[in-house]
């Protein structure tokens, strides 16, 4: 007993050190499995407020470009309104239109990126919209250029997004020209590129083909741009292509995004659940 006590006293500092390191490792491992905690991430009030303050300062440096981007988008939207109005004029006379249900199951909310990383092997992004603005876990996030990521945690005023640049996320995509579906995955190296997997060797794939979302998941609607094929390799023995995709979104400069809420998600999930349980 005395020797044990002596031992403990003699090595108390080393023991404390080891205990603290073990706690740190438990945090690290658990965090990798459960990133849902809003308190212990950049969505908590103190750090999010700080990031927001920081981004109000850095905003001024990019006002000019942002203005131009918004103006471009305005113009594009105006064009689409005009085109749709033209179409509508022809349709209104046609009584068929009233029998078609409008597909109003999607609601889009604009948000600003207040913290973002691209250089880590697991990147995260913080948005300035949270629960009270209607943002919820598992909603899709897109920018004007294309798919950005999926909301993983929300607090009252902020949300944390797992972007495409995080191996935890894989997104169901398809080739726009022929509809073959694969999975997009990031390899942790370059923020401009990701890999498209599960495209079998008999499929016709070329460099420059456009990749869009498949619409098979309940997170993203169909046909949102994801990227363009940069390189497609196939060795003699491969069953699947090795496809390198140039992402449509530039994650280094991203500032404004939209959060997509699929209002029919619950219904779809429930229905799918019922069928699977039979």
């Amino acid at each position: 007993m005395r020797t044990l006590l002596q031992f403990l006293v003699k090595y108390s500092i080393l023991l404390l050190f080891l205990v603290l390191e073990i706690v740190a490792f438990i945090l690290l491992v658990r965090h990798n499995n459960y990133p849902q905690s809003a308190v212990l991430s950049s969505a908590n009030r103190v750090s999010a407020t700080l990031y927001e303050a920081g981004s109000t300062v850095s905003d001024y440096f990019s006002l000019r470009t942002q203005n131009r981007v918004l103006m471009d988008e305005n113009a594009e939207l105006r064009n689409r309104i005009a085109a749709l109005e033209n179409k509508l004029e022809g349709v209104e006379e046609d009584s068929l239109a009233q029998y078609v249900y409008a597909d109003k199951n999607i609601e889009v909310r604009a948000a600003k990126v207040i913290n973002n990383s691209t250089h880590l092997q697991r990147n995260y992004m913080t948005l300035n919209k949270g629960e009270r603005d209607g943002v919820g876990i598992d909603m899709g996030v897109v920018s004007k250029e294309g798919v950005v990521g999926i909301v993983s945690a929300v607090s009252e005023k902020y949300a944390v997004v797992i972007p495409v640049l995080n191996p935890k996320v894989s997104i169901s995509c398809k080739l726009r020209k022929n509809g073959y579906v694969g999975t997009l995955h990031w390899d942790g190296k370059d923020y401009r590129f990701a890999e498209l997997q599960d495209i079998a060797r008999h499929i016709d794939v070329n460099e420059g083909d456009t990749i869009v979302t498949s619409g098979y998941s309940d997170v993203f609607p169909e046909n949102l741009p994801v990227g363009i094929i940069d390189k497609a390799e196939l060795t003699e023995s491969d069953a699947y292509y090795n496809i390198k995709v140039r992402l449509a979104v530039n994650f280094k400069t991203i500032e404004y995004v939209s959060v997509i809420e699929n209002k029919n998600r619950e219904e779809q999930k429930l229905l799918e659940g019922v069928t699977q349980n039979k």
């Binding site: 740190a24 965090h31 991430s41």
Partner: protein, 164 residues
């Protein structure tokens, strides 16, 4: 009392600098300096070791919350807090020097540089290895450690020169 205020102030300033400036600074994705370690290096050397360990743990934990890297900085900073007293005891025999805040003047320029370099490399090695947990491009991690450590050491020594 004065020393407490000085250290708390240094903590707040370094946290702000780290989160708002250094975390956004990346040269070709290779360099993420962590100047925040200076807070641990500049703690009074007379601090009891268990207090220093707890401070290192807490400081790492707080930075982790800001960076979404729960556990990584906690482990790295605790390690620095454990090694620092051993290093100082080993390198400085003259007890009179141990009363002040560690700096180029109180420790002697060369000794200070050596202590800073060793602790920074240790911290960055732990940090980047843990960040890369389960990934294969180890050479990338190695380059990150070397470049970032160099940058951090230079910034810390620059700050030390400025203070005079």
């Amino acid at each position: 009392m004065n020393q407490w205020i000085e250290n708390i102030l240094r903590f707040v300033v370094l946290l702000l600098l780290q989160v708002l400036l250094f975390n956004n600074l990346q040269f070709f994705g290779l360099c993420t300096p962590c100047v925040y370690v200076l807070f641990l290096i500049a703690l009074p050397p007379t601090l009891p070791r268990w207090v220093e360990l707890l401070i290192g743990f807490a400081a790492g934990f707080i930075l982790d919350i800001f960076c979404n890297t729960l556990g990584v900085q906690t482990a790295a900073c605790t390690m620095v807090a454990y090694v620092r007293p051993l290093l100082i005891k080993n390198m400085i025999q003259d007890n009179e020097r141990l009363t002040d805040t560690p700096s180029g003047t109180s420790f002697g320029r060369l000794t200070y540089i050596r202590i800073v370099a060793i602790l920074v490399v240790l911290h960055h090695t732990a940090m980047f290895s843990l960040l890369a947990f389960s990934f294969h491009n180890w050479w990338m991690t190695l380059i990150q450690i070397v470049v970032s450590s160099l940058f951090t050491v230079l910034v810390i020594l620059g700050l030390d020169l400025l203070k005079r």
